[in-house]
Each structure stands twice: as structure tokens, then as C-alpha cells.
């Protein structure tokens, strides 16, 4: 049993008469400690897959399991706990709480985590040791994303999910973020899943899942991924 198991997962959105099959029979698996990159064109269902994996959305049919637990059948309460303890999410648009400083944002996450990491330490890890008391509005995009990552990591989750983390960042900052993520995976031993449409990221991944039209078109593994800082795009 793989760490993360997707088996024939479907997600259909019904809006009035229209049905949209965002995910249409997705099946793949991810091993523990892997850095998995999920690539695909826009509208392929990548974000939907991540949302479902992160417990932020439900699937219409199929099973999703994490570490043996069937996430797709969780009750909302169980999902909340799942999100709290087992998953760390990094969003494309950071989604930091504007009213809280960087440190507080991270504390927000660490406050509810089970066995959380020290927020200041995590922030230092991501290189924002001296920007603890700045509000997100006072941080640049990259810094905000790093805070978001720190927030996600501070919870000490099993699974770190990143939805287009570099989408709003430039090349350099993007590489920075990726390297942090890679470091987390490698040094922290966390399973990291990155959703992106940028195929250059495949190089740093242990596993690459190609998603096309709501299905996993191809899955590749790579036992020796490259370092994030070597990426060029």
C-alpha cells in the first residue's frame, strides 16, 4: 500500500444542467518521503486532485487513502483533524492572514498542530528570520510564499501539498521556494506533492504524475532527482 493512494477517483461539478468532470477516473500512488510533481495543462484537474488529497474537497466517487486511512470517507470533523494534523498546504496565492505578522501566521498553524515545530525556527529555516514581525503586505511575493511554506511545515505534517507554489513568483524566487520544498522533503523526510504546469519541475521530482483531462496519463519515477537550484526554465 503506497503512502498516498488514488484509485479511480472522480469529481464531478454539477451547475444547473451542466456537469463538469474535473477528475475522471484518476488513479495513482505516491510513496512516503517522495517529492512528487503533478504536471498537466490548465483545466486538467491538478488542483482538484490536490484539494481532494488535502481534504479540502470531496470526491464524487473513488477512494483516496493516506497512509492506510481512507480520506475520501472521512466525516467533516475527521477531515478537519486530517487537515490539521496530517496535511500542510501551500497555495498559489499564499493565502496568508493579512492581519497577522509572518511569525503569527506561522504560529497560527503551529498552534493547532500536534507536535509542531518552532515557528521562529521554521521561519529562519526558510530564510525569514529577520522578517518575523512583518505583515504579509510588507513582504514580497517570495517572502510571503516562504511564510506560507513555513506555515505549512510548522504543523509538522506527514504530507505537504503545494498548489503551484511558484505560480506568482519570478524565476529566482521560484527556485528558492523549490529548494526549500526539496529540502523539506529530503531533510524533513516529508512527502511533498507539488502541482504545477511547469514541466521543468520534473527534474527535481522523485515521481512525476502527468495528468491530462482528469486522468493520470503517465507516472514516472526518478530515483535521483536534480537539485532545485539547478533548474532552468
Amino acid at each position: 500500500m503506497a503512502f498516498v493512494e488514488f484509485s479511480d477517483v472522480r469529481k464531478t461539478y454539477r451547475m444547473g444542467e451542466v456537469e463538469v468532470h474535473a477528475v475522471d477516473g484518476m488513479s495513482f500512488s505516491i510513496e512516503e518521503g517522495e517529492l512528487c510533481v503533478i504536471v498537466g495543462p490548465s483545466g486538467a484537474g491538478k488542483t482538484t486532485v490536490l484539494n481532494m488529497l488535502g481534504g479540502m474537497d470531496s470526491c464524487t466517487s473513488g477512494t483516496i487513502s493516506l497512509d492506510g486511512r481512507e480520506v475520501s470517507s472521512f466525516s467533516p470533523r475527521e477531515l478537519t483533524l486530517y487537515r490539521r494534523y496530517d496535511v500542510g498546504f501551500v497555495f498559489q496565492f499564499y493565502n496568508l492572514v493579512q492581519n497577522l505578522t509572518a511569525l503569527e501566521n506561522v504560529e497560527l498553524a503551529s498552534q493547532i498542530g500536534r507536535d509542531p515545530l518552532d515557528p521562529a525556527g521554521v521561519l529562519a529555516e526558510v530564510g525569514l528570520g529577520n522578517r518575523l514581525d512583518n505583515f504579509p503586505a510588507q513582504l514580497s511575493g517570495g517572502e510571503q510564499q516562504r511564510v506560507a511554506i513555513a506555515r505549512a511545515i510548522a504543523k509538522n505534517p506527514k504530507l505537504l501539498l503545494c498548489d503551484e507554489p511558484t505560480g506568482a513568483l519570478d524565476y529566482t524566487t521560484g527556485k528558492q521556494v523549490l529548494s526549500i520544498l526539496q529540502r523539506t522533503c529530503v531533510e524533513g523526510g516529508r512527502t511533498v506533492a507539488i502541482v504545477t504546469h511547469n514541466q521543468a519541475f520534473e527534474a527535481i521530482a522523485n515521481r512525476v504524475i502527468h495528468i491530462r483531462e482528469g486522468r493520470a496519463a503517465a507516472v514516472e519515477t526518478n530515483s535521483r532527482p536534480a537539485g532545485a537550484d539547478t533548474l532552468e526554465w
Binding site: 484539494n51 488535502g54 474537497d57 496535511v87 492581519n99 497560527l108 498552534q111
Partner: protein, 1013 residues
């Protein structure tokens, strides 16, 4: 670890003040109003209670139709639960004060206690050493009545003219005769007070005088009341009642217990009072009856004495009468006898005299006869002798004549005889001729005629012959006569002589007789003398006797008079006494009947709920409670709506954040808690602030408003805040807000994080109903289509807008409508087509120095006296109204009239065209108003008041005031700045008025207005 969640909360608050304050504000208002209003009623009652307790206001008041005596006051005091009892005297009177008449309740005041009492700063508590001094008064101005004849009046009651210390109150009359009640009729105001027994300054109670309402109260010292007046009422305080809140159930039940005991006691009180009154009255009656009896006995004795005396007198008189009667009889008898004898004697004498007189008479007669005869005879003789001489003479004279005559006549006769014979022959000739003639012929007739003529001549001759014969005879006779006469005469003379001789004889007889007569007369004279003597004697004796009797009679008469007068006196006295005694007896009887009829008095046990002031105040406070029960919920509704929208907006704004939090693993509860906390903090702080502020402000404002008519001193700040109400209000406010917040958040939080983090899908567009009406829809413009679609798309918004606007409009309309409605009353009263008051100025007179009022003249031009715009006199104007009814000439029925002041009242038909006055031309129609119309009509002459026409013109609505016989003049609407008085206009109007000429304002008499005295 610090609490970032908490931090986030505070930061949210800090970064959205508007929202926070909006919620806090609306909750503050809602809770504050609710709590404030709820507390207002309680605060008012508390203030009232503080005042009542501070002034030892009575709890129970006992009134009896026969009053109470001191013993009964003590009886009442001994009732279980009664703490203090105070009796006082009270009466309602009609009195004049500042030339105005008021119905005043006069009450007694223990001046000593009042003067010795002290008042605290707020005027709530009056401390006194005497616990029995109830209904303590608070002195507002002036001083307590120290001298008899001083009084204190209410400081709060609004009078026509403000009362000053030193004014005089003249009592006119009361509900019954005041003589046994009030000793004085004139009082001087020495001060003004507040009384807790009369907290309402507009409703002091009811009476049977005047208009039925008591208009003022007056406290005087007890010695102004009659000395033996019983207490009119007893004021009672109940033990333990002051600890309770006046008007509350606890208070009422405490007082009810004692009230019911007093009620039970009431019949006994009534009976004892009745017995007392009866006893007193009966005692008086009995003493009076004793008096009566005494006097009656006395009188009867006197009368009896008098009667005895009278009877004695009567007896005596009667016996005297009898004596006199008998004497009289005797006298009468004696008199009769005497008279009889005298009469006899007299008769005799008289008869003798008669006889003598007869004799004398006869004698005289005879004498006179004789004399007469003698005279006669002598005369006759003389006459005869004369005649004889005469006759002789004549004879001698006549004889020759006669003889001559005879001769002549004889000659004539012979002559005539011869003629006759001739004639006769002629005639015979003629007759023979006639026989030869034919009858009827002319010859015949001529012959006849000749015959006739001859016959006639014959006749004449015959006559002549006759005459001559006659003459002869005559003469012969004369001669014979004369001779005869002479012879007669001679014979007569000898007879006469014989007669004379007889007479002389007779004379001798008569002389003898007269000598007899003379002697007889002498005897008679003697007899008369004796008679007279005797008669005189008898007369004198009789007269003596009669005198005696007369004097006796006089005495008797006077005795009778005395007796009569005495009897009359006695009778009248007796009658008098009878009358008076019977009168008195009747009075006694009726008094007894009255006493018997004295009904058992009605004893009324009244508690504070029957006191006009206290109960009105309490009712008003309950009214506030009623308002508070409903009105603030509008605010709560608004608070709920505002919180709902605000929090919905907030949740919407933070949708992504919520999603993030959810993604981070925060539970729904936790995330909702943030908003709830936000709302809670806002609403709690708002509630606290609102309650804190409005629980002080609202009751103060309301109490201040009520202070216009209530005399309860305001409570000191801070006003008590009722924790229960505050909690309830706060709870409601906060609860509503939290509820709304929860509603707003719940929907959002139900969604999965994924959708949360996506922007909310716009609400699906839908076709609206209107679109199905094809033709209509096609005709609407695009903007309109969009607007209509939007309207129905956001139904909540639509609902809120509509409800909000509707509510606001309703509130506005209520306010404006109230305003209009009330102002309409004013307009209808004073203006409009058919106003009730139809004049501007009322001019009245007051009595001049001679005490009489002069009457006003009509049709007097007022041009120089009045300007176009009217000015108020001394009366206070109240939004265009002037106090007092413009009605009666004497001005007695209403407050300020009779002062001769010019009072201006609104009222008359308004111009047809509201802006007519601006047109500067007179209007058509019976009411020619407008600025110059009045003057245009004739130099400002007054509109004559014609009774009938007014009624007609009013078209059915009769002016309640009769016109025509007034002493006041009603003037037309001379003008005004605007046609219609309304609030704003009224203000402008007031400002626009010109003052009346000084003279008029002072109310000095306008001589032109007055008729000559």
C-alpha cells in the same frame, strides 16, 4: 505561546472600526433604549417613592361624611399595622386670587411642625421631629404661615397670573355654608410649597364647585378653621410600607392588609362616630329640651297667675257691673218715679196752663173778634156814612142828567118808531112786488135785494129803538138804584150802630173774663215754681245718683279696659307663648327627628391608588413601561438586521481567510468563534455603553418631561441601574447580534475549503416574473431590465431596503402626521373656513371707580388703535393659542377676563385665497378680509355682529358662542402674515407681529370704545 487567533481577532477589530462601531452602536441603541425605557418607569416610581417616603406621605386616607373626632383618630391609631395617624381639616372653597376665581382645597397644616422641619438639598426628604407630621410640605418660596390669616399655596400649579408671596386669597363660598367651617375669609400668601399628596400639578382632584376640578390647594393653620370642627380626614401610614416601593405589589399587599383592617374597623368607626355625633347632638337637644320645659313651666305658671288675676278681676268687674246695673235700675226706677210725678205735676200744670192759655186764647180771640167786630162795625159805619154822603151827592148830581136823558131817549125812540113804520110799509110793498115777480129773475133778485135791504134797515131801526128803550130803562133804573142805595145806606148805618152797642157789651164780659184769667195765671205761676223746685231737686238728686253711677261705670269701664287689655295681653301672651312653645316643641321634635335621622356616616378607606397625583404619576410610569415593552424592539430589529448584514459582509470579505483557516485545519467552530467573538465584543461593549448612558439619560429626559406636570423631585445621578433589566437588555442585544452573526457565518462555513478559497460564484441569474409578460418586457429599456432583474436577484437586499424605507417613512409620517393633526386642531379652532373662535381681539371692560362697568359702543373705528397684525396681550401664547375662552362679558367664567386687558385670540374665517393678503386687494365674499379690506370697508369700522347671519354663513357649524348682546367686540380677522398657522409658520408669525400701541397694551380704556356712562 501567544495566541495568534486572539491576536487576529483584535487586529480584525482594529482594522475595521467602522464595522465594529456600527454593530456596537446599533446594539448600544437597542439595548440602551430598551434598558433605559424599562428603567425609566422604575426610576420614576423610585423617584416617586423616594419623595413619598421622604415626605411621609400617607398610605391610607380615611374620609368620613361626619368627620372624625380625636378619639376616633386614636382608635384608628390603635389598629394593628398603623404607624402614624394625622388628622386634618379640609374643605373646598371658591376663592378669588389675583382677580381670578379658582376652586381651592383648603387644608390645615401643623405650622409648628412645618416650620421646624428641614429639607434636604434635592427637596426629596423632609426631616421632622414629629413622626406624626405626615404629608410633609416642602417650602419652595416664601415662608411658613406664622400669623393667622396666612396661607401657603402650591408652587407648581400654573395659574393665570403667577402667584407671589403677599397675594391675597378671598374665600367666596364653599360646598356648604362656610360659617361653621372656616373662621376667616381672607388669607395672605406667605409662601409656596410642594406637596407629595398633590404631585400632579394639573390634576389636583375633583370637587363639586366651579368646573368640577380643584385648581389650587392651600394650607392654613388650624385656627383658621372653626374650633369644634371634627377632622375631615385621617391620614394613616402603615408600618413597613415605606420600606416597599410605592405602587409595587409588595407595597400594595402590605397596605392592603392594613386597609382591610381599617375597612373592618370602618363600621365600628362609623358607628362610634354616629353615636358620638348623636350623643353630642342629643345632649344639646336634651339641655335645650330642659330649658324648654323650664321655660314652659315658667310661662305656664305666669300665665296661670295672670289668668287667676284676670279671673279675679273679671269676677270683681262682674259684681261691680251687677251692682252698677242694680244701681242703675234703682236710679232708673227712681228717675221714672220722679219723672212720673213731675210729669204728672207738669201735666197738671200744663193742662192748667193750657186751660188758661185756652181761656186766654179764647179771651184774646173773643177780644180780637170783638175788636175786629168793633173795628168792622165802626168802619162799616164810617163807610156807610161816607157812601151815603157820596151817594147823596151823586144822586144830586145825576138826577137832572138822568131826567134829561130819559127825555132824549124817549124822543129818539119815538123817532125811530116812526121810521120803522115807514120801512115796514116799504117792505110790504116790496114783498107784494116780489110776489109778482118771477122767481129767479133779475128783478126778482133785485127786489129781493131791496127787500133784504129794507129788512136790514128795519132791523137796524129796531135795534135803535131797542137801544133807546134800553137807555131809558137804564136811566130809570139808575135813578131808582140811587135812591134805593141811599136808603140802604141809611139802614146800614143804623145797624152798625146797634152792632157797636152789642160789642161794647161783649167787651165788658171779656174784661171780666180776663181778670179771672190773670188770677188763674198767677196760680199757675206759683204752681210752676213749685214744680220747678221739685223738679230741680229731683234732678239734682238723680244727677247725683247718676254721677255716682257714672263714675262707678267709669271705674268699671276702666276696670273693664284694664281687664280687656289685661286679657288681651294675656291672650296675646298666651298665644305667643303657645306659638313659641309649639314652635320650640316642633323644633325640638324636628331636631330630634334629625338626630334620629342622622345616618351612619360613610367611612371611606382610600389608599394611594385613589390619590389623583400619586396614581396619575404611577400610571404614567406604567405607560412608559408599556412603551418600553414594545418600542425598543424596533431597535432590536434594526440591530439584528444591521448585524446580519454587517457580519455577512464581513464573512464574505474574509471568505478566503476562512478557507485558509479551514485548510489549516481549524474547525468550523473555531473559525465561527472568531466572528462570534468579534460580534460579541462589539455588542457587549455597545450594550454596556448604551445601557450605561441611556439608563441615565432616558429616565432623566423622561422625568424632566414629566416634571412639567409632576412635582416629584428628580433623582440624583447616577440613577440606579437595574441589573436584571440591564442583563436582559444586554442579553437580548448581544444574543441577537450573535445570532445574526452565526447565521451569516454558518452558511459560509458549511462549504469546503476548496470552494471557499475560490471566489464565490456569482448568484445565478434568473428570469423574473415580469419577463413573462412579453409585450411589457419588450418595451422596457435595457437599464430598466437590468434594474428589475437586480431587484429580484438580491431578494434579501430588496427586502431590507423596502422594509427599511417603509419603516423610516412610517416613522417620519407618524411624526409629521401627529404634527399636522395637532396643528389642524389649532387651525380648526381659530382659522379655517368655519373656525370656532372667530375674532382676534376681545375687548372687555372692568369696573371703574364707581364700581360699575361701562358698556362698549359698537361701530367704533379702531383704525388708530390697532395695527394690522395682532399682538398678544399678557397672556402666554402657546403655539398660537391663547388661554382662556373668549366668551363672557363679565369674564367671570374664565381666568383672565375681567381685567380689561386686551386679549388676542385667533379666529375668524380665513381668506378664501390663502395668499390673498398678498394681493393687496379686498376679496369678494361676505368675509372681506385681507390686509386692507377691513379698512377699505370704512376706515376700520368694526364688523357688526349680526347674530343670524353668522350662523348662516357658517354653513351649518354653529358657533357655540351667541353673538349680539356682548359687551365685547368681536373683530374680524384683520390680518395676518400667513393664511394658515402651522408650527413653522406660527413661529414666523409670532416673530412678525407688531406690538399693539402702548396704550392698548396697558389696557387703558379707549374712551371712544366706551359708551357714555
Amino acid at each position: 505561546m501567544r495566541n495568534p487567533f486572539g491576536t487576529e481577532l483584535w487586529r480584525t477589530i482594529a482594522h475595521s472600526w467602522g464595522r465594529f462601531l456600527a454593530i456596537a452602536g446599533i446594539v448600544a441603541l437597542g439595548c440602551g433604549f430598551y434598558a433605559g425605557l424599562r428603567m425609566t418607569g422604575a426610576d420614576m416610581r423610585a423617584a416617586g417613592d423616594a419623595f413619598y417616603d421622604g415626605t411621609s406621605l400617607y398610605d391610607v386616607r380615611l374620609v368620613s361624611t361626619l368627620g372624625f373626632s380625636r378619639e376616633q383618630a386614636d382608635e384608628v391609631k390603635s389598629v394593628d399595622g398603623v404607624e402614624q395617624v394625622m388628622g386634618d381639616y379640609a374643605t373646598d372653597v371658591m376663592a378669588t386670587l389675583n382677580d381670578e376665581r379658582y376652586a381651592i382645597r383648603v387644608m390645615s397644616l401643623d405650622v409648628g411642625d412645618a416650620s421646624a422641619s428641614t429639607v434636604d438639598a434635592t427637596g426629596t426628604t423632609v426631616a421632622s421631629d414629629d413622626p406624626g407630621y405626615l404629608n410633609r410640605l416642602v417650602l419652595a418660596e416664601g415662608s411658613w404661615p406664622t400669623e393667622p390669616g396666612q396661607c401657603v399655596l402650591s408652587a407648581d400649579r400654573v395659574m393665570g397670573t403667577p402667584i407671589e408671596v403677599g397675594d391675597t386669597v378671598e374665600v367666596l363660598y364653599g360646598t356648604a355654608s362656610l360659617d361653621g367651617v372656616l373662621e376667616r375669609r381672607t388669607f395672605t400668601v406667605s409662601g409656596l410649597v410642594h406637596s407629595s399628596a398633590y404631585v400632579s400639578s394639573v390634576a389636583l382632584g375633583y370637587t363639586s364647585l366651579g368646573s368640577g376640578v380643584i385648581q389650587q390647594y392651600m394650607y392654613v393653620s388650624p385656627d383658621s378653621f372653626s374650633a369644634d370642627l371634627p377632622y375631615t380626614e385621617l391620614y394613616v401610614t402603615v408600618r413597613g410600607a415605606s420600606e416597599q416601593f410605592s405602587g409595587a405589589d409588595g407595597y400594595q399587599s402590605t397596605v392592603d392588609v392594613v386597609s382591610s383592617r381599617l375597612d373592618d374597623q370602618a363600621p365600628a368607626l362609623a358607628a362610634s362616630r354616629l353615636a358620638e355625633v348623636r350623643r353630642k347632638a342629643q345632649n344639646e337637644l336634651d339641655s335645650k329640651r330642659d330649658d324648654y320645659e323650664e321655660q314652659k313651666a315658667d310661662a305656664e305658671d305666669q300665665l296661670a297667675d295672670a289668668k287667676a288675676q284676670l279671673d279675679d278681676a273679671l269676677a270683681k268687674l262682674e259684681s261691680s257691673e251687677a251692682t252698677i246695673a242694680s244701681s242703675e235700675e234703682e236710679l232708673a226706677a227712681a228717675r221714672e218715679e220722679a219723672y212720673a210725678r213731675l210729669a204728672d205735676a207738669k201735666d197738671e200744670l200744663l193742662s192748667t196752663e193750657e186751660a188758661l192759655d185756652d181761656g186766654a186764647g179764647q179771651l184774646a180771640d173773643a177780644q180780637s173778634q170783638l175788636d175786629a167786630k168793633r173795628d168792622e162795625a165802626e168802619q162799616a159805619k164810617a163807610g156807610l156814612e161816607a157812601k151815603l154822603a157820596d151817594a147823596q151827592r151823586h144822586y144830586d148830581e145825576a138826577k137832572p142828567q138822568i131826567e134829561a136823558g130819559i127825555a132824549q131817549a124817549t124822543a129818539t125812540k119815538a123817532d125811530l118808531g116812526r121810521q120803522r113804520a115807514e120801512a115796514q110799509d116799504q117792505k110790504a110793498q116790496l114783498e107784494a112786488l116780489l110776489k109778482t115777480q118771477t122767481e129767479g129773475s133779475a128783478e126778482y133778485q133785485a127786489t129781493e135785494a131791496k127787500i133784504d135791504a129794507v129788512a136790514a134797515a128795519i132791523a137796524k131801526l129796531d135795534e135803535g129803538i131797542g137801544a133807546a128803550q134800553a137807555t131809558i130803562d137804564d136811566l130809570a133804573k139808575r135813578q131808582a138804584d140811587a135812591e134805593g142805595g141811599i136808603a140802604q145806606l141809611e139802614g146800614g148805618i143804623s145797624k152798625a150802630e146797634a152792632g157797636l152797642a152789642a160789642i161794647a157789651q161783649g167787651q165788658a164780659t171779656l174784661d171780666g173774663k180776663s181778670a179771672e184769667l190773670a188770677s188763674g195765671r198767677e196760680q199757675l205761676e206759683a204752681g210752676w215754681d213749685t214744680y220747678y223746685e221739685q223738679r230741680d231737686e229731683a234732678e239734682s238728686q238723680l244727677a247725683d245718683a247718676a254721677d255716682q253711677i257714672a263714675s262707678g261705670k267709669e271705674e268699671l269701664a276702666s276696670g273693664w279696659d284694664e281687664y280687656d287689655s289685661g286679657k288681651a295681653e294675656y291672650d296675646s301672651n298666651a298665644a305667643d307663648v303657645d306659638a313659641r312653645l309649639s314652635d320650640a316643641a316642633q323644633q325640638l321634635a324636628s331636631a330630634q327627628a334629625d338626630i334620629d335621622a342622622i345616618a351612619s356616616p360613610d367611612v371611606y378607606v382610600l389608599d394611594r391608588t385613589k390619590s389623583t397625583g400619586v396614581s396619575n404619576y404611577h400610571d404614567d410610569s406604567v405607560r412608559i413601561d408599556n412603551i418600553a415593552a414594545v418600542f425598543p424592539f424596533i431597535f432590536f430589529l434594526v440591530a439584528a438586521l444591521v448585524s446580519l448584514t454587517t457580519m455577512t459582509r464581513m464573512v464574505e470579505d474574509e471568505r478566503v481567510d476562512i478557507g485558509t483557516h479551514k485548510a489549516l485545519g481549524f474547525s468550523t467552530a473555531r473559525i465561527t468563534a472568531k466572528y462570534l467573538a468579534y460580534a460579541a465584543i462589539a455588542s457587549v461593549s455597545g450594550a454596556v455603553l448604551g445601557i450605561a448612558v441611556l439608563s441615565q439619560v432616558l429616565p432623566a429626559v423622561v422625568e424632566k418631561a414629566y416634571a412639567i406636570i409632576y412635582d416629584v423631585p428628580a433623582q440624583a445621578f447616577p440613577l440606579p441601574v437595574d441589573p436584571a433589566i440591564s442583563l436582559l437588555a444586554a442579553g437580548l442585544g448581544v444574543g441577537i447580534t450573535l445570532g445574526a452573526t452565526w447565521l451569516a457565518a454558518a452558511a459560509t462555513l458549511r462549504e469546503v475549503p476548496a470552494t471557499l478559497m475560490l471566489p464565490r460564484a456569482p448568484k445565478a441569474g434568473k428570469r423574473i416574473l415580469l419577463e413573462r409578460l412579453g409585450p411589457l418586457w419588450r418595451r422596457t429599456s435595457f437599464s430598466w431590465k437590468v434594474t428589475l432583474r437586480n431587484l429580484f436577484r438580491y431578494k434579501r437586499r430588496l427586502a431590507m431596503t423596502v422594509v427599511g424605507i417603509a419603516g423610516c417613512t412610517a416613522l417620519l409620517l407618524t411624526g409629521l402626521g401627529l404634527h399636522d393633526a395637532i396643528w389642524d386642531i389649532i387651525d380648526n379652532q381659530f382659522e379655517g373656513a368655519n373656525p370656532v373662535f372667530r375674532f382676534n381681539v376681545e375687548v372687555g371692560t372692568r369696573p371703574g371707580r364707581d364700581g360699575r362697568r361701562r358698556r362698549l359702543r359698537r361701530g367704533v373705528p379702531l383704525g388708530p388703535w390697532l395695527r394690522r397684525r395682532v399682538h398678544l396681550g399678557r397672556q402666554r401664547e402657546h403655539a398660537g393659542l391663547v388661554r382662556g375662552t373668549p366668551r363672557h362679558p363679565g369674564g367671570e367664567r374664565h381666568g383672565a377676563a375681567g381685567r380689561g386687558q386686551l386679549r388676542v385670540v385667533r379666529g375668524h374665517a380665513r381668506p378664501r385665497h390663502p395668499a390673498a393678503h398678498r394681493l393687496r386687494r379686498p376679496l369678494r365674499g361676505p368675509h372681506r378680509e385681507g390686509r386692507d379690506a377691513a379698512w377699505a370697508r370704512g376706515g376700520g369700522h368694526l364688523h357688526r355682529v349680526r347674530p343670524g347671519r353668522h350662523r348662516q354663513r357658517q354653513g351649518g357649524r354653529l358657533c357655540p358662542h351667541p353673538h349680539g348682546h356682548h359687551r365685547e367686540l368681536r373683530l374680524p380677522l384683520l390680518l395676518r402674515g400667513r393664511g394658515r398657522l402651522s408650527g413653522g409658520d406660527g413661529a414666523r408669525f409670532r416673530a412678525a407681529r407688531d406690538p399693539l400701541p402702548h396704550r392698548l397694551r396697558r389696557g387703558r380704556a379707549c374712551p371712544a370704545l366706551l359708551r357714555p356712562p
